[in-house]
Symmetry: C2
């Protein structure tokens, strides 16, 4: 996984298909490396011309005077495969194949060539980026081994942001946006088909760069979760946040991704849980991908939790408060001391709660912001500030406002500005402050920045997800019957109901007695039947032994009628829970064992209320997941009901998750629904367990 | 309500407090009217100067040589009140009071002056805008009777958009954004305290302007729902959409609004239902307020329902599909004929489904967009198109792309563009096409535009909401007891359970017999007790007459123990529903009778699943509201259960809503929970009815 640093700082680069035309795919990298200051050796390979763009050429890659560190391939089809073969034979460390027409076409010939190409590289231990790659562009070293038009349109400048994308367009678009905002970009990589080196693997390399402060990632699928786990770990160690956009969330988007990069559809909630687990912040569009960039580049040290809002407009105060609630960013409750200090600074008609409306008094008292912000910053409840100036201009001392705001932010308290007028925003931007067009965008970016920090800190304390083992597809071994399932579930650490398994209806009477004569439920035990209630295989509330025997006979008759084979009859006491929950697990082909928990009962498919966690998970994670359920308010006990034992539920999920994460576990998944939630403990009364 | 046109085209304007300084509040309107071409008479009132800004003055308003059509007041406190009095006495039609220090301060003196001011105006039939108003700016007539700094910062141009706002800042901010985007603005009004003329009333006047194509509205509360109803009606008649931002959605935002404009907190769901009902589109921030403006100004004629996406980037296709699903805008399913035509136009490796990925072939075939768009437009399933060009520039015939796109959109099919590069976007903008920075923003704006059209069409078929009558506060008359409540509920048209009311436990036996000997429930009937189950006033499942009598005695004992007075004992057959629903109603102090429907049972407060509709409502509205409930999937019948009678539920809600909307109704509200949903019909088994 590591050792990809040479792709960022190659000692030499050969371009196969070097073109004299600086606008062609084979011409642009030559021009870019020349213009953007690449200091290594460049070898131009072209069998038809003595020179390209003023550089001497060699006719064949094999004629290169040096073993190229990296070979950049801009010739099509089989010629590209051959170039990779030669590079591998020469001992190059890597090849970047920009040519398309491979796996992404879905054609047999494209797939065959791709396989051959990979074979040559693997045989020699050479790494390959692509094919169908826009190339890798490193602006620190000047090794711009790619053909993005954008480097012509928006001149590069080295800086603290890395962009790594499977899609060339989605490397170029954030590059362009950031450059137009004056932010330097160190990497803009478009990796393509990810046949060997994946975008995630490159990202895990890039994030170790001491000059990086933010990494933006675009993926259309995850084939390489190990690299993302490693990316998350390094991101946290180095304090370099990763913001990821994964295209294909929707059904139609996922279909489009399959035809674009051949991405496999992932159950999205599992991916979401995974990214949250490893501390990567997920966004849902390009705008969001870059929206908070300026915040990540600051050297703030947030202390408190709450937001303080200051504006010269009451309406902006109102809208910022609305936006803060939308973004789950609470407004700080100011201390009495703070309010008293604000009262002393502000005119009597100003609002000195939070938000702070300094009113039009700003026009005559240019020092207002400079006096109010430090008062807010001194309050322990204030973790960040928003300064909203919807209207200013002639008559306002805007330069001073910007100076005062920058001086305040330099103290370490996050400060974002909402300033729609470009001329008013300019001095704030010049002072290095993040400025947004409106309070909503500013608050949203700030909330992301703060929540992402918390998520990274939290991720550092969580176990590594188990991830998939080869062949994980979930339940290939088939399902156990009800009796075996309940036993296996108990073995996983999930409490299950007391029960008796008997072979025939006549034995039910004795089982009833052994259970103490309490009312019982009688079920047919079968490994094949699902939705047992609909098939008449479950009889509830048998109050007497005779009832129970009759119930077993009825179950047997129903099983016959539906052609269901029974392994016996389960007799169990009727248990009433306070609420019905569920716990389940399955094997994701990429992310391995995944836990499901939520509201149980017969409506779980029609009205789902569930949460997903990767195994193994912690008690705290499960408690948080339970708290996110719609049913959560019921668990504390409403209308005089007792509280349910949420700790016991969490324990059961944690124990089962640890068992599933054990590589030797024979269990591929299970479904315990309902899991009855009691005042003291939980108990599964129904289970299906799948084996590997 | 009507007759405010003179505020947009006054024949003469007197400025009280006319200043020689063109940057002062009393100076700016003079300068603006001069610079922006106001053609009527302007009278400058200043007792201290012979001229201001080169204009002759009169010392007192009463000395004006003409009766000013509108008097603009820029003097503080009592002087403003006096100016209003004089204006009223002179026979002016309106006064605009820009001075602050009135009701918005919350001080007794401010409120007193405000009352006096209103009294003078009312006595003479003169209308008043403000106080605390930024003024009204009409750029068609040049009557810029306001002081916004923005008119200096961003020069005005008359155009098709009106902006009406209670907040001055929120009139100026959208004005600035639109002007910077090159869009003309006809009105930018900041109304202030809305003591007499409200923002809604001005909006209802503005929307009748034949030159207007879009009206943007900012409010911090609704005091004048009649004007909003009228605004909605005129908006639909004239085809001028209204987009509204109402600040104070959140708890803290609502508190801030109370201190900013003294807005009353409205139950937000009622406001949301109201705006939807009258066809006004509600947004949640400034960015959204202006985001779709360019779309509203087009002369499109959308036909189909679905979105078609075309791009030269596969990733943009993926992200646009994701965004479309987020925005509830379905991707069009193209006909086989369309796909065959696309296949003929596109390279073999292009994706010819929807989204259409034309790939990098665009670089060599500049006519691709021009050929593909009309093929999509011909498909009946396509209602709108998105063109995404994430990367272009040198080597691309961008001018031709823009020409082809504009020619296509001229045919009436909505077309939005997602083009992040300013130089690539420029020719599209110049051709009049709406261009966004990213596919998410483009799709979101398009979805709003299309959904708003549908909402306006739907609103045209709905009855006027009843709205509040004076004194509506809900339930001042107290609650009826259970027996009276059920009877009253039946009178409203909601089916209620068969029942017997008896005075003592001993009479329960006969009641049991009259109900046919079925198992019954026995309840204590009381007008005061809520949560009867917790008080032991409900006994379910009495199978025999003796059980029922014993139950009544136990209820009587519980009532005694809790000090609850009983009016008798209700005996009713046990009814089992498929599901528990609820229907309720209350009186909103602004919007009048409001219906509530949703999932019923004991958890309705802890885990609410309800929808709100204004009375009277239609069967279709109720069906749609039921379909939005989380419980909706259950109603069709899952896991072999029969479907519930949703029609009967809807009928009950409609009938009750019509009864409540009748001004003579003595009912102020009710709560029927649970309303049992049956296979055939619905039945209320529990009710509390409040009277006026």
């Amino acid at each position: 996984m590591s050792g990809l640093g040479f792709l960022h700082r190659p000692t030499s680069v050969a371009v196969v298909g070097a073109s004299d035309d600086p606008e062609k795919i084979g011409g642009r990298p030559l021009r870019y490396m020349r213009e953007f200051g690449y200091g290594g050796t460049v070898v131009a390979v072209n069998p038809k011309r003595e020179t390209v763009q003023g550089m001497p050429t060699v006719p064949r890659l094999a004629d290169s005077p040096v073993v190229p560190d990296v070979v950049l391939v801009a010739v099509p089809g089989q010629a590209a495969v051959d170039a990779v073969r030669v590079a591998a034979e020469m001992g190059s460390r890597g090849a970047i194949v920009m040519s398309s027409g491979f796996g992404e076409t879905g054609t047999p010939e494209g797939l065959r060539m791709q396989d051959e190409l990979l074979g040559h590289a693997r045989a020699a231990g050479m790494r390959v980026v692509g094919p169908n790659s826009q190339g890798l562009a490193s602006f620190e070293s000047g090794a711009v081994m790619g053909f993005s038009t954008l480097f012509t349109e928006e001149p590069p400048a080295d800086g603290p942001v890395g962009i790594i994308s499977q899609s060339g367009a989605l490397a170029s678009v954030p590059y362009g946006i950031l450059r137009r905002r004056g932010i330097g970009v160190r990497y803009a990589h478009g990796t393509g088909n990810d046949l060997d080196v994946t975008a995630a693997e490159l990202a895990a390399e890039a994030v170790t760069d001491p000059g990086l402060k933010l990494l933006l990632l675009y993926l259309e699928g995850v084939t390489d979760p190990e690299s993302l786990v490693e990316l998350g770990e390094r991101s946290r160690e180095r304090g370099v946040p990763v913001v990821a956009l994964v295209g294909g969330r929707s059904r139609s988007g996922s279909r489009a991704a399959a035809s674009h990069t051949g991405a496999l559809a992932t159950e999205r909630r599992v991916l979401d849980a995974f990214l949250e687990r490893v501390g990567i912040w997920q966004v849902h569009g390009v705008r969001e991908l870059v929206a908070a960039s300026e915040l990540y580049l600051q050297d703030w040290k947030p202390q408190g939790e709450g937001l303080a809002v200051v504006s010269n407009s009451g309406a902006v105060c109102v809208l910022a408060a609305d936006a803060a609630e939308d973004a789950d960013l609470p407004l700080a409750s100011l201390s009495e001391h703070t309010v008293a200090r604000l009262d002393a600074e502000l005119p009597t008609f100003a609002a000195t709660g939070n938000p702070v409306d300094v009113t039009a008094a700003l026009l005559t008292d240019s020092g207002l912001f400079g006096r109010v912000l430090p008062v807010l910053g001194d309050d322990d409840a204030v973790g960040a500030c928003l300064l909203g100036i919807p209207v200013a201009g002639r008559g306002y001392d805007v330069e001073r406002f910007a100076r005062d705001a920058a001086a305040f932010a330099a103290g370490g308290t996050p400060l974002v500005c909402a300033i729609p007028q470009p001329n008013v925003a300019a001095p704030f931007r010049a002072a290095g402050l993040p400025v947004f067009d409106d309070e909503d965008s500013a608050v949203t970016a700030l909330a992301q920045y703060l929540a992402h920090r918390r998520r990274m800190a939290r991720a550092a304390g969580l176990p590594r997800p188990a991830l998939a083992r080869p062949g994980d597809r979930g339940g290939d071994g088939g399902s156990l019957n009800e009796a075996e399932s309940l036993a296996a579930l108990a073995g996983l650490g999930v409490p299950v109901v007391e029960r008796e398994l008997v072979g025939s209806p006549s034995e039910v009477e004795a089982a009833f007695g052994r259970l103490g004569g309490r009312p019982v439920v009688v079920k047919g035990s079968s490994a094949t039947a699902t939705h047992k209630s609909e098939l008449g295989l479950v009889r509830l509330g048998c109050a007497t032994a005779a009832d129970a025997v009759a119930a077993a006979e009825a179950v047997a008759a129903s099983a016959d009628a539906h052609g269901v084979g029974l392994d016996g009859f389960l007799v169990a006491p009727m248990v009433r829970g306070l609420h019905e929950g569920l716990v389940g697990a399955s094997l994701d082909p990429v992310f391995g064992p995944v836990m499901l928990l939520g509201a149980g009962g017969t409506y779980v498919e029609a009205v789902p209320d569930t949460q997903v966690l990767l195994a193994p998970c912690t008690h705290d994670e499960v408690r948080e997941a339970i708290a996110r359920l719609r049913m959560a308010p019921l668990l504390a006990g409403v209308r005089g009901e007792p509280a349910a034992d949420v700790d016991a539920w969490a324990d059961a999920v944690v124990r089962a998750s640890e068992a599933l994460a054990d590589p030797s576990s024979p269990i591929a998944g299970f479904d315990a629904n309902p899991l009855l939630l009691l005042e003291d403990g939980v108990v599964a009364v129904d289970a299906v367990v799948l084996t590997r």
